[in-house]
């Protein structure tokens, strides 16, 4: 159950290209499970910015009754406002939100993959996995050395830690996806947890499927409310029943079984999704086979006109 609280800023610190903000928010900290996120109202009480800002939680601690830390990049007016907060400032916070990372029942060899500050939520997960007797290998990437979050912690705490950067300023030169297969083979990975931009998650899903390894992906899509009201953060996901639905990342995710996400169809309404114009597609009902298995491609058939609703 999420709560809405007036949280107090404990610290805002610079971490290379990013910022880490720690809030005193006991009610959120005690409810948190790795993979969940919080939302904040930005800009103060008279703000002109109505969308809340969502952040994956990096870590919770028990000091000050319970603190919540997240990592972000000051990219726009909302995140710049957050970066300018000082200790003891108040901020409206809601959390913890969303579906957490499921953890394996039996001790497993887990690979935790993160890109940029997307790796922040992996460290709380790593701690939980180790508690369960799992081994943890890290594969972290970013544009440059200052855009790989947590490389040091990964090296210190992981069974192995592989770092790649686009410019080669830290670790190997390349992308996480170029190293993924090698890491999977060397670590004999049994399950992958990934937090990265959608194109990377899509590629990770394809690569892991070659080794028949399940991937739990935390998607990074823009949200405005974070609690399921605004229907802004939607993506097409196939259920275990084989039926595709347009679901909300905030309440149905943000962690999804990656093989069920229709990565290529994000930003479209696949015509075989529940409620798409012309749905249900002929033969899709009652044949016990998922539309995806039959090679149905997403998107609107050419020539089919659709009226867009505003509202």
């Amino acid at each position: 159950m999420p709560v809405q609280v007036r949280a107090t800023v404990l610290t805002v610190r610079r971490v290379d290209a990013y910022h880490a903000l720690t809030l005193v928010a006991p009610a959120i900290a005690t409810r948190f499970r790795p993979g969940q996120f919080i939302t904040l109202a930005v800009g103060g009480p008279e703000t002109s910015m109505l969308g809340r800002r969502a952040f994956a939680v990096h870590d919770v601690r028990s000091d000050h009754g319970g603190t919540v830390e997240f990592v972000f990049e000051a990219l726009g007016p909302g995140t710049r406002w957050l970066a300018a907060l000082r200790a003891r400032d108040g901020v409206d916070a809601v959390g913890p939100l969303g579906r957490p990372f499921p953890v394996p029942k039996d001790p497993s060899r887990c690979l935790l993959l993160g890109v940029g500050y997307g790796s922040a939520p992996l460290f709380a997960l790593a701690a939980k996995l180790r508690e369960r007797g799992c081994s943890v290998d890290f594969l972290l990437g970013g544009q440059s050395a200052d855009r790989v979050f947590g490389a040091l912690t990964a090296r210190r705490t992981g069974r192995s830690a592989t770092v790649v950067t686009t410019d080669g300023s830290l670790g190997a030169r390349g992308a996480v996806t170029t190293m993924l297969e090698q890491v999977i083979r060397e670590a004999r990975t049994e399950v992958v947890y990934a937090c990265a931009p959608v194109p990377v998650l899509r590629e990770v899903t394809v690569l892991a499927s070659r080794y028949d390894i399940p991937v739990q992906a935390q998607v990074d899509v823009a949200m405005a409310c974070g609690i399921g009201l605004c229907m802004g953060c939607v993506l097409p996901v196939t259920g275990t029943d084989g039926i595709t639905r347009i679901v909300r990342a905030c309440v149905d995710g943000p962690v999804f079984r990656a093989d069920l996400v229709r990565w290529d169809d994000i930003g479209t309404i696949p015509f075989d999704a529940v409620g798409a114009p012309g749905w249900p597609p002929r033969g899709a009902r009652g044949d016990g086979q998922s539309p995806r298995d039959r090679g149905v491609q997403g998107g609107r058939p050419p020539g089919q006109k659709r009226h867009y609703h505003a509202g």
Binding site: M1, P2, V3, Q4, A41, T47, S48, M49, L50, G51, R52, D92, V94, V221, A222, A224, C225, I227, G228, L229, C230, M231, G232, C233, V234, L235, I246, V251, I266, G267, T268, I269, A273, V274, G275, A276, P277, W279, H307, Y308, H309, A310, G311
Partner: protein
Amino acid sequence: MRVRLGQVDLPNPVLAAAGCAGAGRELAHFNDISRIGAVVSKSIMTEPWTGNPAPRLAETPSGLLNSVGLQGPGIDVFLQRDLPWLLSRGARVVVSIAGQTAREYGVLASRLADAAGVSAVEINLSCPNAEDAGRPFALDPGTAGTVVAAVRGSLRYDIPVFAKLSPDVTDIVAVAGACVASGTDGLSLINVLLGMAIDPGTMRPALAGACGGLSGPAIRPVAVRCVWQVREAFPDVPIIGTGGVRTGRDALELLLAGASVIGVGTALIHDPSACPRVLRELEEELAAIGVGRVADIIGQAHGGIPHGLPGRREGQKM
């Protein structure tokens, strides 16, 4: 703070507006929804509907631009799952309905006529009319009136109907008049304004559907104007005033313009406990001016109180 809206008694005049309260469950984590004046459902259609592709939302100054496109589960799921849940939590439910033809609105109304516990029906007229090349019903007085007649004719007499109008017309009083003539019990003012945002970074529209509906405090003056004009023309028709309400003072403004109750919409996206907060602030505003009953303030901007009250504005020198 009890108010009367048509034939319906509500414990207070602050409603959660259509499309911003989810199915009610989402808000219930943060509010006791039985203490919200009424929960207006997301617009319900006859069938499940996917809505529009993402991105669907863009933030604009004091506003949100959306092209969600009425994603929803359809009337069957609403009646089986969402409505009973809302009623079990003690909520009063106003059901917003949306169709692609006047006939579909009629079908939805007859389904609701058989359902127990519906306080009122709000007709979302800002939907593309499939029989008029996708032109929204709300843009034409005749078409809007046809939909109202179809709904009114299919619904029990004891369930009031509120036609929700679009501000994107040259003469909202004409559309309101057509709806009143067709038997609507009240009006809901206003729906979103059509707007657009372009991302200079990508050089493309910010929304997949290019254009979208603008809501939030940015449109509040438009809502005040529409409520004012319609109240002026039809002083006896109850109005649900919606459009950019974020504080109790904003709510008071719409009541003064002539709304009987007010809807809180986009403010819920920003603050999930906006409804109880706006109600508390409104109570404080009314107490400060010595008004005990909401009914005593409705439409007072039209000259009820001679010369108004002495007031001071920020920026005045003395």
